[in-house]
Subunit: 309 residues, 2 copies
């Protein structure tokens, strides 16, 4: 590892308001707006704000349009929304989003269980979705979930993930994101996938989305930094839990990512003490203790930051 | 990072029975013996079994001699004990230990608060302790705690830690261990310290002891592996907590370390499903949920190991 060659700057996308809250018990619209507004003031550069999904499938996001309409938009923040299909895409476009994410699972079984169609069929839908989004002047990011393993199928071959990248890049995807959906990544799996994809698509922006279910999230980020990756998802407080194991950790906590990067002198723009305050707010909103170590124990130099404040 | 050059094998020292239980509420002697015996059967190669400290200072270890006398000794396991001073060393030697650890804090303030003397004075004591242990045919490991930061002083310069290594190596220390006592390490700090120490003492065996208080433990281990380090401490279930922050994580969980290394095809000798069973036992013994992600969520391929069993 050559720390000297690590990127000087990293762009964190805060996914707590969407991916986080979507995996918690539903919370009131007011709280969602409060959380979004508070995050918009932390210095974070990107926020995944909401998803436009069917309210019966995901009641947590039923009020997406209202949340977004009421949220303060910080001109320094790039906001995005996730959509599952054409209907969702139209709702997101109507709401004014210009950065839109669509999702497909690398594991066929996972895709079938999630959206009742094969990975192949979802990719066909995505071809049309990318065109639609581009026609309306929005960018299209394809999130490939279960990119490091599937809870049903087990290991997912990196070649399979890379061939999905080939397909969506050919279809015009502006960015590709790899989801460690149930926390099955380990450093060597991150390296193998990035080796393949970077060789084939050196210029496609890649974003990594780690879960900390088995403690490996920051090790995965470290590995990705060594590959020059500069875009990572993270969730304030570790909001989102792990739907497969009650009490277990899901999304890596934004504070833990910022805290490590800060000590490595990699800029994120995020004000860590403010972010920790927002993690406390998130904890209050969902009414349970969140798993973020930096939230619980404070940053590594707590007494020193106390003195400074 | 060049995974091809990573060590093929890693020696984990299980510290749950000593460092773990020493930082939990006291548990009965029977439970300590059960835990030790169960760990001895997991395939782990080394166990820090007990410490011989003053029972008034650390009541958790008051029954160390009895625990050790009653424990089953697996001939394939190397057992060690920690001692704070000459009296403790004599007790450990009497009990039959031949691998003994002594400890000094790199941070002077931490050393003063812990043992009421300066780092310099502790180092003078250690000179005598190493001689005594060698005279009695035992090996002497020096643990340098707060090696990546101190909760009172903040950052600890790696040069200071390296100069302590110089001193104890000159005094005959057989091994040196770096303690991330309150979870203040980040990958770049691990690299800086190892750069310095490996350049000066390429042949001294180094052992790293990480805490996962702020999520960085496995990233630290990954960094150390890149430096060729092959010895790590870990605590079953993450036993040990964090005395500075209730509910926070202390020692990195042995299951998380074994789980990551296994997926990287680095041998540890440990049977992961058996180790997870012992983590459940540890949880039962201390009567609280332990922070290990692999204990809570299971290994990354749970359904597959279920099918195999």
């Amino acid at each position: 590892m050559n720390f000297e060659k690590f990127p000087a700057e990293v762009s964190i996308r805060e996914v707590g308001p969407r991916d986080g809250l979507q995996n918690e018990d539903p919370v009131p619209t007011d709280d969602k707006v409060r959380l979004l507004n508070a995050l918009s003031r932390t210095g974070v550069k990107r926020i995944e704000a909401v998803s436009f999904v069917h309210p019966k499938a995901i009641p947590q996001m039923a009020d997406a349009a209202e949340v977004w309409a009421r949220a303060e938009k910080n001109p320094d923040v790039r906001y995005s929304a996730l959509v599952p299909n054409t209907k969702g895409a139209h709702r997101a476009l109507e709401a004014g989003f210009t950065e839109i994410e669509v999702v497909v699972s690398a594991s066929n079984t996972h895709n079938l269980r999630n959206v009742n169609r094969s990975t192949e069929d979802s990719l066909d839908d995505i071809t049309g979705l990318i065109s639609l989004l581009h026609d309306e002047g929005a960018s299209a990011e394809v999130i490939i979930s279960t990119a490091f393993g599937c809870p049903y199928e087990g290991d997912v071959p990196p070649e399979r993930v890379a061939s999905i990248v080939d397909r969506v890049v050919a279809d015009g995807a502006d960015r590709v994101s790899f989801g460690d959906t149930t926390g099955m990544s380990t450093p060597v799996r991150v390296a193998r996938l990035l080796d393949l994809v970077k060789a084939r698509h050196p210029d496609v922006p890649l974003l990594l989305h780690f879960h900390n279910t088995r403690g490996t999230a920051l090790a995965g980020i470290l590995t990705a930094l060594d590959y020059g990756i500069t875009e990572f998802d993270a969730s304030v407080g570790g909001l989102g839990g792990c739907p497969y194991a009650p009490g277990a950790t899901g999304n890596v906590a934004t504070e833990e990512v910022v805290h490590m990067l800060q000590d490595m002198e990699i800029a994120t723009g995020v004000n860590l003490p403010e972010l920790i305050e927002v993690a406390r707010l998130a904890q209050e909103i969902v009414g349970r203790e969140l798993p973020s170590g930096v939230l619980r124990a404070g940053p590594r130099l707590p007494q020193i930051s106390r003195e400074k404040n």
